[in-house]
């Protein structure tokens, strides 16, 4: 059994230059520690390996029951030069939400 980030959290992606930042926000604060343990930068790097070169940094926001993942070299050179359809990487939050994690129970 496994859960997806989608089951426990919501997410939004933003852009700045060639860097994408993707929030992961728990619906319920009780899942924050589970995500802190399981949603590692290594797991996120694996999910984004075909999109972003990295590095990836995870910033905890305990007060907001959230995390902020900052993924560098993720936007095809940046909004202004990218050949992608989704130049801002707005849809990247859905890659994050689809990540599977071991069952928390």
């Amino acid at each position: 059994m496994s859960v997806r980030v989608y089951d426990l959290a919501h997410s939004r992606a933003g852009d700045k230059g060639n860097t994408s930042n993707i929030s992961v926000i728990c619906y319920d604060a009780k899942h924050w520690e589970f995500l802190e343990r399981e949603l590692t930068t290594a797991r996120v790097a694996e999910a984004f390996k075909h999109i972003a070169k990295g590095p990836i940094k995870r910033h905890p926001l305990r007060n907001l029951k959230a995390f902020n993942f900052v993924i560098e070299n993720a936007l095809g050179g940046g909004v202004t030069v990218s050949l992608a359809q989704d130049i801002h990487g707005k849809s990247y939050s859905n890659v994050m939400l689809a990540i599977e994690l071991p069952d928390p129970k």
């Binding site: 007060n63 907001l64 359809q85």
Partner: protein, 450 residues
Amino acid sequence: MKAEGVIRVGAGAGTSDDRMVPALELAERGDIDYLVFECLAERTVSRENLSRSKNPEQGYSPSLHARLRMVLPACIKNGIRIVSNMGAANPLGGARAARKEAKDLGLGDIPVAVVLGDDASNLVKSRGDLIMIENGEPLESILPKMISANAYLGADVMVEALNTGAPIVLSGRVADPSLFLAPMMHEFGWTIDDLPKIAQGTAAGHLLECTASVTGGCFGWPGKKDVPNLANNGFPFADVRADGSIVISKTPGTGGRLDVMTCTEQLIYEIHDPTAYITPDCVLDITGISLEQEASDRVRVSGARAKPATPTYKVNVGYTDGYIGEGEVSYGGIDAIARAKWAAEIVKERLKRQGFKYDDFRVDLIGMSSLHGQLDIRPEPYEVRLRMAGRTYDRKAAHAIGFEVRALHMHGPGGAGGAIEPRVRDVLAVKSVLLPKNLINAQVLVEGTL
């Protein structure tokens, strides 16, 4: 109605393409004191600088006319002051256009305070040694292709402009949260070293700067994160008190939702290190912030902290960087994917035989891999749209992509339909450098009589 001692700052636009009617609703029934239009994306100033070089009257945000025509009567009637960076690459031209709109609407002679001095192009021309933040290289290499350089000014000069009393304040490049912080500083006399209040005001500005992103836009998900009446979602405002207390809410009677979830998504949006969000006014730390649902569609924001501002301005340098060419065509039904893949190979070979070269090239199968890649593991859909795009300094090579994709109708695999006209666009790239603040001479000028 707002309580006594509260100043209400509304968000009227979060990009130059933002929807317009919600700003009118705010002006008519939001009981706001200020309406802030944030209309400059990273490369907008570069684009407007090009417009200005063709016509010296232009260079401000083209949406200025339609926006002001829509909201000015309500703003003047209700005593709402307008604050905006719609001046873009020509704030003076924007001010003249705004005054003409007011006159044409029968509102008389409206003075406009203009903020100048963000244009740093002359300064950086002689500073090829400045290091670009994005790649660590000296600015020198892009200077010959530079079309604009603008410093992100802060709230201080906007406060100066508000102090003139003009009903409209127009600037070029000013950091987004600063546009919102300025009316608070102006009203309550907050100084830039009163960090707890500057932090709260900056956090409020960050929550408001993308308008509907905090009222249920860019958020909804059927069955999971439902948003009532999203079609009629309203724009947000902040209720601010002199002590720095902040409540975010939205126009009464509008759709959408404003709660801790929508505010949290926007609070973290486009922030990197949450302990150090750098604006011209302060270095904001959002990690101590608490969001609390105070009433329906009302969220209290507390606990923002800040360190003093850095001694530099971030300067965006815009430059031309070749062309992007694009083509698209569709395949459907039996073996649609196989035909689309074959078509892509044919176009690539035809471009190669003509000697065209590209610095970057991309093939997307829309419906499978255009957003998140990994074509090899995606299930096959019934129909697919082939998109090919390339970046090059050769305009002909850029045009050839769309030309050859369109020619697939007659010269490619069977049953291609619906190709677009060949598309070519100029690449306006942006890099940034840091300039010591004392080199920038920001100033305020009033157009018209106060």
